[in-house]
């Protein structure tokens, strides 16, 4: 009884299959009814009108080998060798040139009233650890990543092919494994600084007052000003983009096909170059561009007058908090 039912079901499924497959089996016939091999031939040109890449059945376990022809490879070559080289060079050299120009025109932003000699803690040890874990990882990733794109133009002619090959292979492994400490750092920074980077009303005021770049104008800010918040959110977005695309590249062809691998590489490269440009600006303002800024991430303590200039609302908050706890408002510098 059940066997008969199964047979019936199988027959119905097979018939349905025939109906579904029917239209695709459009064999062209000659007037005498014989199949015409000329008319029913699969030509490469016709296939490319329908699909971007030609795929078929393959007998070997290597699943990515079933793609017969993917002309997009040449497009990816053009992206990688022309657009990325020129675009990347323009973005990075342009950023460095702009920062140099900013230094010449604006110069270092000084502490308006000079140093007070009093210090206040801005970043705790764990916050600094998270920052520098990400920062060191980022610099290593940036240099080794740029080597893959620009090394053959800049470094190869200097050191020769054998040395360059050894350096690049080492750089590849550094890049692939340091990526994990970068991701850990990114997660830490995201969590630690999330609350203080949420937009506030004072951000608009800060922007209206020229963001602290205009002398004689005071731009008010809480713990982070709008510029720092932009670095935070842009870094978070770029960090997620490079991490996700990077993980896809670390595990090639697991859940991706050739087109997705090319896309992952493209996203990874473009976002990384913009990320490097952003961080160049971040490094500039944290070192050369502003007096007293580096020590926030260096020793963790900033001068009271620096805090007054750049983070007055945060300073007032901290001082009020310390007063409530009955501690001295600031510790004298040793």
């Amino acid at each position: 009884m059940t066997l008969a039912r199964i047979r019936l079901a199988t027959l119905i499924v097979m018939l349905l299959g025939l109906v579904v497959c029917g239209p695709t089996i459009a064999q062209k016939l000659d007037p005498d009814g014989a199949p015409n091999p000329t008319a029913s031939v699969t030509s490469e040109r016709d296939l490319f009108k329908q699909v971007p890449r030609i795929e078929g059945r393959i007998d070997i376990p290597d699943t990515k080998a079933h793609v017969l022809i993917q002309p997009v490879g040449r497009t990816w070559d053009y992206f990688h060798e022309v657009l990325l080289h020129w675009g990347g060079a323009i973005v990075l050299v342009g950023t460095i040139a702009l920062l140099g120009l900013a230094y010449l025109i604006i110069g270092q932003i000084k502490i308006a009233a000079g140093r007070s000699g009093l210090k206040i803690l801005r970043f705790k040890a764990f916050e600094r650890f998270s920052h520098w874990l990400t920062a060191v990882s980022f610099v290593l990733l940036g240099l080794t990543g740029l080597n893959i794109t620009f090394g053959k133009i800049l470094l190869l002619p200097v050191v020769g092919p054998d040395t360059f090959s050894d350096v690049s292979e080492a750089a590849k492994y550094v890049h692939n494994f340091i990526s994990f400490s970068f991701i850990v750092g990114l997660v830490l920074i995201t969590v630690i600084f999330f609350r203080d980077n949420l937009p506030e009303r004072v951000d608009i005021e800060w922007l209206r007052e020229g963001g602290g770049f205009i002398k004689n104008k005071h731009a008010p800010a809480g713990r982070f000003n709008l510029g720092e918040k932009l670095v935070y959110w842009l870094s978070l977005a770029a960090g997620i983009a490079v991490s996700v695309s990077g993980l896809l590249l670390l595990f090639p062809f697991y859940e991706t096909n050739i087109a997705e691998m090319q896309l992952a590489q493209g996203v990874h490269a473009v976002v990384a170059i913009l990320f490097v440009a952003l961080i160049l600006c971040h490094i500039y303002i944290g070192t050369l561009g502003m007096e007293g800024a580096f020590e926030a991430m260096g020793s963790g303590e900033v001068d009271l007058n620096w805090a007054k200039d750049h983070h007055d609302l945060w300073l007032a908050q901290q001082l009020a908090k310390e007063k409530r706890q009955g501690e001295p408002s600031a510790t004298p510098a040793e």
């Binding site: 078929g56 393959i58 054998d162």
Partner: protein, 200 residues
Amino acid sequence: MARMKFLCDADRCIDCNACVTACKNENEVPWGINRRRVVTINDGKPGERSVSMACMHCTDAPCAAVCPVTCIYPTEDGIVLHSKDLCIGCGYCFYACPFGAPQYPKVGNFGSRGKMDKCTYCAGGGGPEAPGSAEEFEKYGSNRFGEGKLPLCAEMCSTKSLLAGDGDIIAQIYKERVLKRGYGSGAWGWMTAYHQGIEV
């Protein structure tokens, strides 16, 4: 100077995989590496065609262009060779190759795919090894080309579907075949590889 090319006349390919076997045996390539493969399009349907594919030794080879250590280059016969001494196993040549030709000995997580391997047109390797030497064979496989012979895959093709040799000559052979039998599915990959099809 000859310009060496491959041409697979898909209307004659019977998916016997003799070219694949010939390649594997001649070059003693390890498990998992398939310098040549046969892909069947429209499997089981009218208009089904099988195409034998390996490195097409492209004009302006994209693999050579994207290689970060420039270890891939064309010879004066248009054969694209590479140096395994310089290859860093980054996998970029596979993303650029329109034909899926580059192969890697390992699975490749964390960039550990190993040195790239691909069809050498049975012309040995692009490294410093002496042509025809045991060292060259160990790394790259056979150097038939140095002995004046064509790749074994094409030489062994039972239906003479896979043609190897100077581009102009094999294009002429294909053209004559198409004219005589009255149909042809095209020179697969030629437009992409050599920027020219074969008009009949």
